[in-house]
């Protein structure tokens, strides 16, 4: 589904990613762990196409397409979803209005019929219920005044509504309380565990991986994947830290 080869990327002319290789197949769940500042969020932003994150070398192929040739909204329509480490607040723009427009823009780009107001509300209600989020929250402006955990949960509702093929979830677990962590973990499984979908979890802790069991765990350090393994690698890291690995 996603093949990243020798990816180099800079932010403000500072090289951050330095030869990253990663292949994610449909049906797989991958986790990336790594020290602060390693380039994990940068990887997500580069794949999402955030302005200011410049690819200087390497390729990324998503579902057979050259990902870097697509605009950010085209990547979304192609099925890429980025869960933000810090979801952005957008005053005055309601979640429902924004999500309906976003979903219908994606559908239009894929040559699908737009959802009617009623169909959309039904979908939004269903996904809010899945994440046990009060539908009233979706009437409020995007992330404005949401607590840290509420923002993360709202992101999972967005993911449910937009139904991507590949979700890159950047520290979705941070800020979630114990119950919310379980609810979001189960939500990720419900939405994304499918033979034609894949997930890349960026996380610092095992706790999310207890709910969303990864097939592969990678360590990103210094802008590259320095070690890959199975789910046991996350446990080893939690025991011994990055010292032995990232060196």
């Amino acid at each position: 589904m996603l093949t990243i080869e020798n990816l180099h990327a800079s932010v403000a002319d500072k090289p951050i990613l330095k030869g990253l290789n990663l292949t994610i197949n449909a049906g797989e769940i991958h986790a990336i762990m790594g020290p602060n500042g390693a380039g994990k969020s940068t990887t997500g932003y580069v794949l999402g196409g955030r302005p200011g994150y410049d690819v200087t070398e390497g390729t990324a192929t998503f579902d057979g397409q050259d990902l870097f040739a697509l605009e950010p909204h085209e990547r979304a329509a192609a099925g890429l979803f980025l869960g933000f480490q810090y979801p952005v607040e957008i005053p005055g723009v309601s979640n429902l209005q924004f999500l309906r427009e976003a979903l219908n823009s994606q559908r239009k780009a894929r040559g699908e019929e737009p959802l009617s107001g009623g169909e959309f509300l039904k979908l939004a209600r269903e996904k809010s219920a899945l994440l046990k989020m009060d539908m009233e929250m979706l009437k409020r402006p995007v992330n404005v005044g949401f607590s840290g955990g509420e923002k993360k949960r709202a992101e999972m509702v967005q993911m449910g509504i937009l139904n991507p093929k590949l979700a890159i979830l950047d520290e979705t677990d941070s800020g979630l309380d114990i119950d919310a962590l379980r609810i979001c973990g189960e939500g990720i499984n419900a939405i994304m565990r499918a033979p034609d979908k894949a997930v890349l979890l960026i996380t610092h802790y095992q706790r999310l991986l207890d709910y969303v069991k990864p097939d592969f765990v990678h360590v990103l350090a210094g802008g590259r994947i320095v070690k890959s393994g199975g789910p046991e690698l996350a446990l080893e890291l939690e025991e011994g830290g990055y010292e032995g690995v990232a060196a």
Partner: protein, 245 residues
């Protein structure tokens, strides 16, 4: 010949950002008079969209305890000006919510003079302007508090959003206070759309123009909050924004 018959030049303070050629064609601009009797209230929406050039001059007289809610959508043509002068009596209340949407090269301006002539009157002005490439949006707003108009409460909130480096915004709130116990506040900000928010919206699938439209709608909608014809004003503003993006 009185000077009144001559079109003003850019030397006149209230006309310094005007499109002089357009003003010469429009001159003289007849003032429209509105008087709200003691204790009465009045709501009015002015939509300035059609035509190449337009200029309106509105003089409002609010008697004691009269209330006026004025909304303006200034969004059309190459030059658009709405000038409002208001005199407030004792305990009167004036609300202005104005949005300006200037397409490429347009010059739009709102010019207000709000005079508190007696105690305890309230004025609230909220102006939201959007300027496209080469456009100029201006707000010139004078609040005058006359002698004896103690307990005046005046507020001006002025924000402009520039969509292009060549766009320009002028904001000049001005206070003249000759009374005691007066509460006057103003805030001005000129900015650009938040790049983080635009990327967030794009990452969810919105094309750039749709993402900008969504954010700008929210930005100008503040000017129409609580208006009688809020939905209609919002829809007209949205159409104006779509024409600019």
């Amino acid at each position: 010949m009185s000077t009144q018959t001559l079109a003003p030049t850019s030397k006149a303070e209230d006309w310094r950002y005007a499109d002089q050629a357009a003003v010469a064609q429009l001159w003289p601009v007849a003032a429209e008079q509105i008087a709200v009797a003691s204790g009465d209230s009045r709501a009015l929406s002015i939509i300035a969209r059609e035509g190449e050039h337009h200029a309106r001059e509105i003089a409002i007289d609010l008697a004691d305890y009269a209330t006026m809610d004025l909304r303006i959508l200034n969004a059309g043509g190459a030059y658009g000006r709405v000038a409002v002068s208001v005199r407030l009596g004792r305990g009167a209340s004036f609300t202005l919510g104005a949005a300006q949407v200037a397409g490429a090269g347009a010059t739009l301006e709102i010019v207000t003079t709000v005079t508190h002539t007696a105690p305890d009157a309230i004025s609230r002005q909220l102006i939201r302007s959007v300027a496209g490439a080469g456009a100029t949006v201006s707000y010139l707003g004078r609040v005058a508090v006359e002698q004896g108009a103690d307990g005046t409460d005046g507020e001006q909130s002025v924000r402009a959003m520039l969509l292009d480096r060549s766009a320009q915004a002028n904001a000049r709130p001005e206070l003249e206070i000759y009374a005691d116990d007066v509460k006057c506040a103003h805030g001005c900000a000129v900015g650009e759309l938040d790049a983080n928010a635009l990327f967030y919206l794009a990452q969810r699938g919105l094309p750039p123009a749709a993402a900008k439209a969504l954010m700008l709608q929210a930005f100008v909608a503040e000017a129409f909050d609580g208006a009688q014809d809020e939905d209609q004003l919002r829809a007209l503003a949205q159409a104006a924004l779509e024409a600019v993006l």
